[in-house]
Symmetry: C2
Subunit: 108 residues, 2 copies
């Protein structure tokens, strides 16, 4: 149905899935890397960095903001975006459980 049975999962699982989902698009990864590369806040010159329209970049930025991966602040006519790394540790921590050695007797 293209709709997810969200009521069946814990809040934590839903939150993590939301973060992963936001990270699950190459444009958003590129945006995050570009913002992270800058030492200070950058503004909408992401548009000139990526081969997407202003409208599309803006939508991706909103998605990243919604899940809390970036913050934005109006400054004049432009908007300054920067990383919000608050949630990154949860994501990294979650992945650790999958870093145990592969079971050698299993699915060779």
């Amino acid at each position: 149905m293209g709709i997810t049975k969200t009521e069946s999962y814990t809040d934590q699982t839903l939150m993590l899935a939301g973060l992963f989902k936001a990270l699950g698009h190459p444009a958003r990864l590129a945006i995050l890397q570009y913002i992270s590369k800058q030492s200070s806040c950058i503004c909408g010159d992401i548009v000139s960095e990526l081969p997407l329209s202003q409208a599309s970049i803006s939508r991706h930025l909103q998605e990243l903001k919604t899940v809390g991966l970036i913050k934005g602040e109006i400054s004049g006519t432009s908007v300054c975006y920067c990383l919000n790394n608050e949630h990154i540790p949860y994501v990294s921590q979650f992945l650790i459980q999958f870093q145990t050695p592969n079971n050698p007797t299993c699915c060779s």
Copy 2:
């Protein structure tokens, strides 16, 4: 368009985005956690663990397998799935760049 301009990104970015995307659904996170919880290979009793139909679970398993997050091996009439942690370090490594301290002069 619901289609991504994949030709604009590096293979590495596309691969990471694919992994994040696969992780970006609560059912798939739940499946991974369930598989990881078992000490040995488990089979399709994931179906009885999650509130999804056999067809839907099977689809999610295929997606996880496609991006290489799990491996599957036929054993009798059933199929044994287990984690493939091969790609996890890339994902974790990628996230490290975002773990630098937030710029305090930026987007208070």
